[in-house]
Symmetry: C2
Subunit: 164 residues, 2 copies
């Protein structure tokens, strides 16, 4: 069981936005270069964050993205939900009812299977871990990493994945 890179890249993007001191928007290109991520792919990811009203955008030259809220009020469960579409440990959980609640297909035939009992517990553990982690916490963590090493101001490209 695994999250996709959407969650990874999306969270990194939000952390990068949270590290910006002022209110001026940051272009995706700057973030892509700073994190070493493909720009075109990031565009699709940030669209998910915008649809969930986690970021705001301004178009045109000198445009970009900024956080829509204070990082303290952004919990990771809504972030991951926006990025991955669902936080479900089993595929049958994804089939949702109309109001968005998860629904195990096994319930349909009147059979409350023991595995559903287990996956619900797992799902609870995941969402709880996500909910008690705020974006502000991650931003502070990454800032701490910076002073331990060298500060990395935006603009100086430091690829993470693709070795230079």
């Amino acid at each position: 069981m695994i999250f996709t890179t959407k969650a990874e890249y999306g969270v990194r993007l939000l952390v990068e936005l949270g590290r910006q001191p002022n209110e001026s928007p940051v272009s995706l290109k700057a973030i892509a270069e700073s994190e070493g991520l493909p720009l075109a792919y990031l565009e699709r990811i940030v669209a998910l964050l915008k649809r969930a009203e986690l970021v705001e955008s301004t178009r045109g030259a000198h445009g970009g993205y900024r956080l829509a809220r204070d990082p303290e009020n952004v919990t990771m469960d809504e972030v991951v939900l926006a990025l991955e579409g669902s936080v479900a440990p089993m595929s049958c959980f994804v089939d949702e009812t109309d109001d968005g609640r998860v629904l195990c297909s096994h319930v349909d035939d009147g059979e409350a299977c023991a595995t559903k009992f287990l996956w619900l517990r797992v799902q609870g553990g995941v969402t709880e871990a996500l909910r008690r982690t705020t974006l502000a916490e991650l931003v502070a963590f990454s800032a701490k990493q910076d002073v331990a090493q060298t500060p990395v101001p935006l603009g100086s490209a430091l690829p993470l994945h693709s070795a230079a």
Copy 2:
């Protein structure tokens, strides 16, 4: 983020074995028919459980599988670990070191990323939820479901997925 059917089917198989009153082994065919699962696929799944010494097998006619331990002493974290190979929320966690510990690839380049901090928390939530759930608990749960409806002795085929 999602578990595969290996975990689903494997846990169901163990629950079915745990429901057996006596010590005589149960054939995979009986379980496959009872749960409505493909036999050939179950064979590969039960091999994982046997390799992890969670089940024992006797070959030949009237052979089959039985639990290697008491259900009280079987926790779901080792079950899922045996079935899925790892309990990792992010793909970079799967690359293991030689002693089996998870290792985020970002650590290699001296960068302790904020996302790793998050995924470790998620992983902790998952493994904790799995560890505090025993097979005995799931067996008891499924038994309770039975008295609420009609008891389903093994042998009477009741397909779950493929509607008859």
